[in-house]
């Protein structure tokens, strides 16, 4: 464990230069969201959704989506740079670090970024009265789980591609549709069956559903256990895939 923390420390030193801009943007995004969707779009959704206001309904989804965006943001271009541009992974591989430390350290830093931006979002949402339950902080561990479920397989994908144009493909054909059809902005029940099942298969919807239960204070049913397990499967499978891909690049 300690060696991967040394790796994370390296990313933190790097982050120190940009943290102000990064913290600012993780506050601005939720602020704009509250105003744009809560006040703007919400004004048209007069009946609310599932018995709560549109803002209250949508905020947990957006927090989950922020976690996924953060996870994918840190496991796409930064990963390709670590292999190809800055090549810091190779510098790390020459030190007494194992592939698991190199991958783990980067993912821990990714989780740090996700947790801070989710915490900022929660704070702003609380100020706008968009959280209805004292269980709302449970969104944080859900975000960690969701970030691993999305970030680890994406790290595996990025480690497998030769150029960053494949990342644009991933964004356009996987990340964007997942963000749109995972119940963030409207209930998945209004989707045609095929799309709905795609939403169920991908990790984001489960994170959205769990986060929503947390901030709206809905008692989680037995399906919540399955959702947690399902996200774990994504995370664990993603870890092994990424480890395999990293190894094939770093140990040749």
């Amino acid at each position: 464990m300690a060696p991967s923390l040394y790796v994370m420390e390296y990313y933190l030193v790097n982050y120190r230069r940009t943290w102000r801009a990064s913290v600012l943007s993780s506050l601005v995004l939720p602020l704009l969201t509250m105003l744009g969707f809560g006040v703007g779009v919400g004004a048209y959704v007069t009946g609310g959704v599932e018995g709560v206001s549109y803002l209250q309904w949508m905020v947990p989804g957006l927090i989950a989506s922020t976690a996924v965006q953060g996870a994918i943001g840190e496991t796409t271009w930064p990963v390709i740079s670590s292999f190809q541009w800055v090549k810091n992974y190779f510098a790390q591989a020459a030190a007494p670090l194992r592939v698991a430390d190199i991958l783990g350290g980067h993912l821990v830093f990714m989780l740090f970024r996700v947790v801070t931006s989710v915490a900022a979002f929660l704070l702003v949402a609380a100020l706008f009265g968009a959280l209805r339950s004292p269980w709302s902080p449970a969104v944080l561990p859900i975000a960690v789980l969701l970030a691993l479920a999305a970030g680890a397989p994406v790290a595996a994908y990025t480690a497998s591609v030769s150029s960053d144009s494949y990342l644009a493909v991933l964004m356009r054909f996987a990340v964007l549709p997942m963000s749109l059809f995972s119940g963030v902005f409207f209930p998945v029940e209004s989707l045609p069956a095929v799309l709905r099942w795609i939403a169920y298969a991908l990790p984001l919807w489960h994170g959205v559903d769990l986060s929503r239960a947390a901030t709206l204070g809905l008692a989680p049913g037995p399906e919540a256990v399955w959702q947690v397990l399902y996200l774990m499967v994504w995370g664990v499978a993603g870890w092994f895939l990424a480890h395999w891909r990293y190894r094939s690049r770093l140990v040749i």
């Binding site: 040394y6 030193v13 090549k87 810091n88 190779f90 020459a94 030190a95 007494p96 140990v251 040749i252």
Partner: protein, 307 residues
């Protein structure tokens, strides 16, 4: 344990080709050991295996008495690696590049800071300590990479083409620093295709070609074994130097005809030149010089360009 590196029948195969084809190497503590060879000779593959980032396909390899297949991290903790292409972090400062790297070895922050200051002084980068890496010159970056390789006070330093791409001033500064390290008793293993670098730095070296070792020994011994003491370079005012080759027959051990000149490998250059003149041949220019490692190298690995 008397060898820091011990290899027997070491082989590295990639899909479709054999990069290292059964080499035997022993590097002792305190010596500077060189791998010479043209591009594609297998030098870098060998270095990567020694650096424990590339498992051997076959054969015996022991580094610091340990098995790289099993003890990779433990061995790497005692190695310093200066790769062929710098992989410094351009966004970090010069000092941060050293301190963050030191942390990968579990070195406490305070010790890392002290060591960074010391090493920056050693590679003459103290004045740039707090500037970013990106605008540094190639020579400065290479010196920083060397400093980074020393941050864990390694027993064995691996340098893959340490001066390739540097201008003469920068090369000489790097050589001088490496020489200092050697004097301090640090064991150096380097690859190079610069013969002057090998002659300057290496106590012992092997010449690799096509994944095999084709010669080994000290620079002096290699010259004695594979070349003559002196070389006479003759240029004749003609398009075809070859027409003179016959007329020079019998002078020295062997002659080599190049497009622009003829090389005579001889024991005594002045005697040979006198003989050339006695045969009434008048070259446009004639140069007598001592044999160098370059002659050995070209003799052993050929003049054909390898890309």
């Amino acid at each position: 344990m008397n060898s820091l590196i011990h290899a027997r029948g070491l082989i590295k195969r990639f899909e479709g080709f054999t990069a290292v084809d059964g080499i035997d190497v022993d590097v002792r503590a305190g010596e500077a050991f060189g791998f010479l060879g043209p591009n594609g000779a297998g030098k870098s593959s060998t270095m990567r295996m020694i650096g424990c980032v590339s498992p051997p396909t076959d054969g015996v390899l022991e580094i610091l008495g340990m098995d790289p297949r099993r003890d990779g991290p433990r061995i790497r903790a005692r190695l310093g690696v200066c790769p062929q292409l710098d992989n410094l972090d351009p966004e970090l400062t010069v000092r941060e590049n050293l301190t963050t790297y030191a942390r990968f070895f579990g070195i406490p922050r305070k010790v890392a800071r002290a060591r960074a200051t010391e090493l920056l002084d050693f590679v003459r980068l103290s004045e740039r300590a707090d500037s970013k890496v990106e605008p540094l010159s190639g020579g400065m970056k290479r010196r920083l990479t060397i400093a980074r390789a020393l941050v864990n006070e390694p027993d064995l330093v691996l340098l893959d083409e340490p001066t390739t791409g540097l201008d003469p001033q920068a090369r000489h500064l790097v050589w001088e620093r490496l020489f200092r390290l050697k004097q301090q008793g640090v064991t150096l293993v380097l690859t190079t295709h610069y013969m002057d670098e090998a002659e300057q730095l290496c106590d012992r070296l092997v010449v690799m070609d096509g994944g095999r070792i084709v010669a080994q020994g000290s620079p002096r011994a290699l010259i004695e074994e594979h070349s003559t003491r002196e070389v006479v370079e003759l240029r004749f005012a003609t398009d075809d130097q070859g027409t003179y080759a016959e007329k020079l027959a019998g002078i020295g051990e062997r002659a080599e005809v190049l497009p622009d000149r003829i090389l005579l490998y001889v024991a005594d250059g002045d005697d040979a030149l006198a003989e050339v003149h006695r045969r009434s041949l008048s070259p446009a220019s004639a140069l007598v010089r001592r044999s160098s490692l370059e002659d050995v190298f070209l003799h052993l690995t050929g003049r054909t360009l390898v890309d």
